[in-house]
Point group: C2
Amino acid sequence: MDILSRLKAITPHVLTGDDALPYGRDWVGKYETSPLAVVRPRTTAEVSAILALCHETETPVVPMGGNTGLTGATAADGALILSLDRMQTIREIRPEARIAVVEAGVILQDLHDAAEAHGLTYPMTFGARGSARIGGTLATNAGGSNVLRYGNTRDLCLGVEVVLADGRVLDLMSELHKDNSGYDLRDLMIGSEGTLGVITAAVLKLYPAPKAHATAMVTTTGLSAALNLLNALQTRTGGMVEAFEYMPRGYMDNLARFRADLTPPLGHDQDHTIFLEIGSTMLRDCTPDETGQIPLVSHLEETLGVLFEEGLVLDAALAQSEAQRALMWEIREAAAEISTAEKPVVINDLCLPLDRLEAFMDQAETRLRALDPGFKTCPVAHLGDGNIHYTVYPSTYELADPLMEEVEEIVREMGGSFSAEHGIGLSKLPSMERRKNPVALEMMRAVKAAFDPKGILNPGKTLP
Amino acid sequence: MDILSRLKAITPHVLTGDDALPYGRDWVGKYETSPLAVVRPRTTAEVSAILALCHETETPVVPMGGNTGLTGATAADGALILSLDRMQTIREIRPEARIAVVEAGVILQDLHDAAEAHGLTYPMTFGARGSARIGGTLATNAGGSNVLRYGNTRDLCLGVEVVLADGRVLDLMSELHKDNSGYDLRDLMIGSEGTLGVITAAVLKLYPAPKAHATAMVTTTGLSAALNLLNALQTRTGGMVEAFEYMPRGYMDNLARFRADLTPPLGHDQDHTIFLEIGSTMLRDCTPDETGQIPLVSHLEETLGVLFEEGLVLDAALAQSEAQRALMWEIREAAAEISTAEKPVVINDLCLPLDRLEAFMDQAETRLRALDPGFKTCPVAHLGDGNIHYTVYPSTYELADPLMEEVEEIVREMGGSFSAEHGIGLSKLPSMERRKNPVALEMMRAVKAAFDPKGILNPGKTLP
């Protein structure tokens, strides 16, 4: 019996030929692959049977969630795509324990909605939340806009269920906040891009949903001042900062050119603009006073006033309405659109130590200018995490690789990472080869061999 | 040349015979072992040379920090003890980046003091902080009193430097908040009790130090009400809860018997007492008002008032002075003393899902009573983490094992863990054998074989 027949004996949900092709294309449109087939199991037992079959027949398997990744991690030429999209049950929400128990195929937005119905939030969020699936966010340790306050996906996960390469089920579905019984296999699985096992379910943390926000655009004298501002704000608000995003002049220039409809409250001619938001669950912050003002907004206004006196803030505009708040978010969320509007373009997803971002920006300017006097940039940063998307426009296509190499070299010298939140997949393999600590790479290969001795799980990804 | 001579060629700090014996005794007094020798390197290069030598000669090595562990994880019969106690330099504190770069032998209290000089805190703390060393806290993923707000040691660590079994240095000294470049080897090393490598240095997170605290003893109707109280308090304070400790009547009985000098503000005759503390960095909370009152204390008083109206609180006593606060802490910190004052005693370090603690207490009472009608308990819990130290006094020594087994079985049925914060070492090996998921054990053994193929690192610990 051939493998397709054996797959169909496990589940009838097997796609081949033209039906399988859409799964072979990635969201960015960069990778176009021809999968052997697509199998869409409904249960962990089916996933287990499928992997046991693939293990026996040495068939390469590419696990897939919402297929919204940015690094080609689900490219699948000749491989079986194991789509988790039918495993989309939210098994439990236990509001008192502040946990959700979900299957890997649950769409992120669906979990947001389900938590909200209990006055809670699952704080992981990003642009593709309407199609990204929990399993994919775990496999890539997804970041996003709320990492500063709540952490990456890894920080939000208490337990996972994983099917191993040979079909054994590794049940790590812990609901516990403390568990020191042996090695941390959970965090090894999170972020391993389906190369060590297939995540089929998870226990996730929920938080009380903020009942009020205060939002502002602020200008500062530079990145060091911005970091001091962040620290002062964290101390004075008790860690309420949910967004702290940096948009320098290069970003504002592109905004003016490609989204002239969005006028920044403090104008385009600012060297260093910060977009920030704080959120509170406290009744005393969220109940409007006799004038209808939200105390949290007054609190931010006073705090920024003090920081203005201290010289950390040059100017500030507070959102006085939901419309003004939405405009500020739109200015930040235009990043993908305005930064890819020019070609040729080099996209970067860098992370640096928080207090080295200014030095990075200076060095990048100098060293890239030396290689390409006509280069331009459109940087935008999740500053609170040290995560900068440093988009570069070389003068010519030929200069793209040398400029990217130089950016990565500066990052390496400063103890940074060439992949902050998007992962490795296929597109960052050359960077892994060139920049990752060689002993770390050796030990990652040893781990891979221990979990997937036949190399059937998402072959050719993550490790060069 | 014998191994001792070769060790002395690496560093003169080698102890043998009687000089080595104190290192062979554990802090609890349960394990008395005779090490081959003790070597006390000063640098990572020396650790590397020592491990390369041990690897070549297949000499077992037991890494040791402050030797304050509770599970016999540093017992070392015939093994070389590799003490990190001379590597005690705090290399850097960078207040703007909120990080400390430390060597493994730094004493926890010394890091507390160094952070405090910058108005910051390294929030990991527990009783043995004056002698515990950072390397040991990382090797065991130590818990303690502040986990509810700041997380376990794992959550406080950005990077580690590890020397592998064969002497290679695995440099994971990241200062980054986001880094998705390959597998999470850092978290694999943390909590592995020196069986996968020797941690020689770390990058740790610092936080703004709270400038005011508000502290109270509260009584409730039971554990479910207590969990609701915790959740309400977290929401209303915006996550400021630093301690939320549960002391039922069995605890208060032992307190009355063995520490009659400590009178609980709400008396001994309460079924369910909670000790709680909130902390704030916010100026508005910490600046005394015109009457000299700290606003944070008023805020807690008001909040408890509302929760009293809602029926979540039966009675409450707020600390009105540092002396009253100190008394409340002393009542909680008397746990070690009053719970081990009776014999025979079975000590447990359990973790349960937050909303199953009440069911656990009920079942334990019923099922242990069936085995031993005369048994007594003295439970005390880090309730916010689900971590309960459920101390049991069997009627006879013979009943100790059956009662411990029964407790573990209830915990397993409820999805809990038999080791919340103390780790496995030697003393919990039988529990690992009996209760840990077998597939998880198999994969842990595969990881161990990948990192330490000759099995020289802390042999016989962690994995049964």
